[in-house]
């Protein structure tokens, strides 16, 4: 089985640190983007299997990245898990409407996150 590639897109370095360790421990290949534009470039360049996408990022927000990815035919199949400290129903609905496959609010339980990621990677995305 090929190693799955996961892209972490978040501007908070300490969160990146924790996520990186977590995912690497699970055996995934991890790459990092620190703002929305970097995220888009990384998705285009590396075609990760899943993107952990923070919403509040400089240059382009997670929503914008999600919309761009879904709008791009070549990248539209990428799995996106949105992470945000904004937990209002409206934000969740907005994220899902823009095409995120799942949405988790921060702070999250690490166990939960890992489980969701595995679940998503197991499913095929049409």
């Amino acid at each position: 089985m090929t190693q799955k590639k996961i892209l972490i897109a978040d501007d908070e370095p300490n969160i990146v640190v924790s996520l990186e360790y977590l995912l690497q421990r699970e055996g995934y290949a991890v790459s990092i983007a620190r703002d929305g534009q970097q995220a888009l470039d990384a998705i285009a360049r590396e075609a990760p299997d899943l993107v952990l996408l923070d919403v509040m990022m400089p240059i382009k927000s997670g929503f914008e990245v999600c919309a761009s990815v879904r709008g791009d035919a070549a990248l539209a199949h990428t799995r996106i898990l949105m992470l945000s400290a904004k937990g209002r129903d409206t934000d969740l609905a907005k994220g899902m409407a823009l095409g995120a496959d799942d949405y988790m609010t921060k702070p999250f339980a690490t166990r939960e996150l890992v489980a969701r990621v595995a679940e998503m990677l197991a499913k095929d995305r049409p």
Binding site: D11, E12, P13, N14, I15, Y21, A85, R88, P107
Partner: protein, 920 residues
């Protein structure tokens, strides 16, 4: 022997002149139809008033001057005074007349006293009786002038047969011209633009002619005014004429009497009413005319006395009648052309008077005498014969004109030669003067009633008949003179010319005195005796208060039921189908209804119809007509007062309603803006909440994640473990800072903070700030410099909060200085009012456009730096702290050409100047 003029020349010139007048009238009517009215100018209005000067001015006043000196003057002083002092009375008359569509003086008086048919009839009869002598005078003047010109002698053979009497032909000719001017068609406004234009023109002509003959006499026959007067003074009998007091005892009474008479006449003569009130185009013209008309009178009277004296001097033989001086003097000097011109002038004056007077009187006769009679006798059929009407009315008017002129001729035949022309005119004045008390009382006294007016008018007129008319007829030989000298049935104190023993006055003043006195007394007493009816009371209010009420506010004094279709048919009969349709449409539009079928026959519609009909047939007839198609309730005086009270209450209610609704509108808009404010504050609060939530959750995320990793995974390499623990601690600190700052912000904004004021040594505080941040700066490889004067006054503020501000600014500076070369300068300066402290760094500076953003909450510039992340709340909190003490915190704009860097400064007053709601 004086020269003569051939009769055809005189007749031809006269006819030509009259046709010229007709041409002027026609032109003016055409212009009026094209809506470019010629007469809508104040000077035309003033000239039209000069119809007051008739052939009497030419012949009568000269005769008066020749026999009595200045005694011709009061006749002209009266109107002068009336215009100069009383033009407001005229203006009120005009306003009333226009408001109520009044078309004659009979209509005015009748309308005022409850639209009384009886009063209208009475006034019309008095007017006819009053003007007949005056018309006779004009006929006499023209015919004797004609005789003088053509035969050299003015004395006409007595009692000519009418077919040989030039006066008869003059009468017929004038009747024809009067019909042409004033009875060609019916106009519901009774305005005759052509006639007014012609009158104005002829006023100019008669003035010109009189001035010409005056100039001729004074400068042609004599050597100027001085010459005439000195020659006159040389003759004893003429010298008397130059004194102002004449006529012995009671002369002042005679003077006053004549002036009062002329003053009244100027207002109430039918011809004056017609040109001044009915034909008035604009109320504002009255003011101008109030000095123009007296000026005209002055000019035309300028040469009267000189001509009289000149004639007496020139014809010292005395066989020449002073009446005809204006003609005989030029003829004697061979100036036939001038004589003809003067004759035309006299003819012009006579024509003007006759035309206007007969047109006015014919309107009264047709509206107030003939029409009601015909209605009563149902000679005009029922509602099913619409078209005969206007033609019948027109026929009646024309017949009235001819009739009045023939009556004038008759009077001329019967009584013309007994009295000099002058007296005839004054008798006529005295008759119509009886209208004055009733008219003026009606305009200014609400208490005048119909019964009072009838009483006054009848009594006054009766006295006039007895004291002036009968004697004049007697003196012409038609009545036994006995009752003049000895009184009727021998009762001495009932003698017509000295009632109750009042001796010494001339008959005119005597008559005037008694008739006006009894008139006024009867009017007042009878008015007070019985209360007025509802209609009288309402009309009284409408007339007297005409300046106080606008038409929109007038209450409608009518109660009853009416049928709209009947009212419409009534209008069509008298105004024509076209006009009625127009009126109905405009009424519906004003009432806001679309179809005129939907018009409700309420009191207002009835009043509207009545007002329109008044213009056509007079108020009394209109009243009768409307009453015939509706079912009315008779209103009493009490009812009227109640209606008035209701109307004024309604007015005050609607005013109160208006102010209430305006204040309601204001309150609504205030509430709306307050709501908007609350909503935006709410939104801000929401934004704040979500920002705070986000900021708190972010460090919590790393803390939780890393802690869970450490908790669940025993195999984390020690290096990683250490790193994770460090991060946890850092983020906890960050979270703590954030929570503290958010709480601070909340406390400051809600005003719940405890401020502890103390006197601060500024230098010490700054040094303390430096010490606290020393480690932070050295970590960044930056150095700090302090630039503070040795002595500074004590600053009264909260030292801890101020330290917080300094630490915030310094740590911001430390965040942005370039690594290993950063320089932060702390500078303090004092001025009279307070302290300025600046923190200057040599970092990149604030990007252009972000100067305002940096003071926003949670705004973090430049991205996070390791080892201490900003919360974005530092500057806003510092800003609030400084503002609380009445100071300012700002970003100093970079000086052009200076090295990059940001300079944050704050200024604080030595003593805090708290703003209203943040004082401790």
């Amino acid at each position: 022997m004086t020269a003569m003029l051939p009769a055809p020349l005189v007749i031809g010139t006269s006819l030509a002149y009259l046709l010229l007048l007709v041409g002027v009238a026609y032109w003016a009517d055409r212009r009026a139809a094209a809506r470019r009215s010629v007469i809508a100018r104040p000077w035309v209005y003033a000239l039209s008033m000069a119809v007051y000067c008739t052939a009497w001015t030419y012949f009568g006043s000269v005769e008066r001057a020749a026999t009595g000196g200045m005694w011709f003057l009061p006749i002209y002083l009266g109107p002068t005074l009336a215009m100069v002092l009383g033009w407001t009375v005229l203006r009120k008359m005009i306003r009333i007349a226009k408001t109520h569509r009044i078309t004659s003086i009979a209509d005015f008086i009748a309308s005022r006293y409850g639209k009384s048919q009886l009063l209208a009839t009475l006034v019309t009869l008095v007017a006819v009786v009053g003007i007949v002598p005056y018309i006779a005078l004009q006929l006499k003047a023209v015919s004797s002038g004609y005789a003088l010109l053509t035969s050299g002698s003015a004395v006409a053979p007595a009692h000519l047969h009418w077919s040989q009497d030039s006066a008869f032909y003059v009468a017929i000719a004038l009747a024809g011209f009067a019909i042409v001017f004033g009875a060609r068609h019916l106009d519901t406004t009774e305005r005759h633009e052509g006639m007014v234009a012609a009158i104005a023109f002829e006023s100019l002509v008669k003035l010109a002619a009189f001035l010409c003959v005056g100039v001729f006499v004074v400068y042609g026959l004599f050597g100027g005014l001085g010459d005439i007067f000195s020659q006159a003074r040389a003759r004893p009998e003429l010298a008397d004429l130059l004194h102002a007091e004449q006529g012995g005892a009671y002369s002042w009474a005679r003077w006053m009497g004549l002036m009062v008479l002329a003053l009244c006449a100027a207002l109430v003569l039918p011809r004056q009413f017609q040109v001044m009130v009915v034909e008035n185009v604009h109320e504002d013209h009255v003011r101008r005319a109030s000095w123009m008309f007296p000026l005209y009178l002055l000019l035309i009277n300028l040469f009267v006395l000189p001509i009289a004296l000149g004639g007496l001097l020139y014809f010292s033989g005395g066989e020449h009648n002073p009446e005809h001086f204006v003609l005989s003097l030029p003829m004697a000097a061979g100036q036939n052309a001038l004589a003809l011109f003067v004759f035309i002038g006299g003819l012009s004056a006579a024509t003007g008077m006759v035309i206007v007077e007969t047109v006015a009187v014919s309107t009264m006769v047709s509206n107030e005498l003939a029409l009601p009679l015909l209605l009563r006798l149902r000679l005009l059929g029922t509602a099913h014969q619409p078209r005969d009407f206007t033609r019948s009315l027109l026929m009646i008017r024309r017949a009235a004109i001819v009739g009045v002129l023939l009556l004038g001729y008759l009077y001329f035949q019967l009584a013309g030669d007994a009295y000099a022309l002058a007296s005839i005119g004054l008798i006529s004045f005295a008759a119509v003067a009886q209208f004055a008390p009733v008219l003026l009382g009606g305009m200014y006294w609400r208490g005048g009633t119909r019964a009072g007016a009838l009483a006054g008018l009848i009594m006054g007129f009766g006295v006039w008949v007895y004291t002036l008319m009968l004697p004049s007829i007697a003196k012409s030989g038609w009545l036994d003179v006995g009752f003049l000298t000895a009184g009727p049935w021998g009762v001495a104190w009932l003698r017509p010319e000295s009632l109750w023993g009042l001796q010494g006055l001339d008959s005119l003043t005597h008559s005037l005195f008694w008739s006006l006195l009894i008139n006024c007394a009867a009017y007042v007493i009878v008015s007070l005796w019985r209360a007025p009816s509802g209609r009288e009371a309402s009309q009284a209010l409408l007339f007297v208060d005409v300046f106080r009420r606008g038409t929109a506010q007038t209450p409608v004094f009518w109660r009853g039921r009416a049928d709209a279709a009947e009212l419409k048919r009534l209008c069509e009969r008298f105004l024509g189908v076209e006009k009625t349709r127009e009126l109905w449409r405009s009424y519906a539009k004003e009432a806001g209804l679309i179809a005129d079928q939907a018009l409700v026959p309420d009191a207002r519609l009835v009043q509207f119809v009545e007002a329109q009909l008044t213009g056509a047939v007079g108020s009394a007839s209109a009243r009768v007509l409307v009453a015939s198609v509706s079912d009315e309730e008779a209103l009493s005086q009490g009812d009227v007062l109640v209606m008035l009270e209701e109307a004024s209450q309604l007015r005050s209610y609607s005013r109160a309603l208006e102010t209430k609704s305006r204040s309601l509108e204001q309150a609504t808009s205030e509430l709306r803006s307050a709501n908007e404010q609350l909503k935006s504050l709410d939104r801000l609060k929401d934004d704040f909440m979500s920002s705070v939530t986000h900021e708190l959750r972010t460090p919590l995320t790393s803390i939780r994640a890393l802690a869970e990793i450490l908790q669940g995974d025993a195999e984390v390499p020690p290096q990683q473990r250490q790193r994770f623990v460090d991060i946890i601690v850092q983020e906890t600190e960050r979270l703590t800072r954030l929570v503290n700052q958010v709480l601070d912000m909340a406390k400051i904004e809600s005003g719940h903070i405890d401020w502890r004021l103390a006197d601060i040594d500024v230098r010490a505080l700054l040094e303390k700030a430096m010490a606290t941040t020393a480690a932070l700066l050295s970590d960044r490889g930056a150095e700090m410099e302090l630039d503070v004067p040795q002595t500074l006054p004590l600053l009264h503020a909260d030292p801890d909060r101020l330290l917080q501000v300094l630490l915030n600014l310094i740590s911001n500076a430390a965040k942005f200085v370039p690594p290993q070369g950063g320089h932060v300068q702390l500078r303090a300066r004092a001025d009279g009012q307070g302290l300025t402290v600046c923190v200057q760094d040599n970092g990149p500076g604030v990007p252009a456009g972000h100067e305002h953003l940096i003071f926003d909450r949670f705004h973090q510039a430049g991205g996070p730096t390791p080892g201490g992340q900003g919360t974005g709340l530092g500057l806003p909190i510092s800003h609030h702290i400084v503002a609380h003490f009445g100071g300012r915190l700002w970003l100093e704009p970079p000086a052009p050409g200076a090295p990059p860097g940001a300079c944050f400064c704050f200024w604080l007053p030595w003593q805090p100047a708290f703003s209203g709601d943040t004082a401790p």
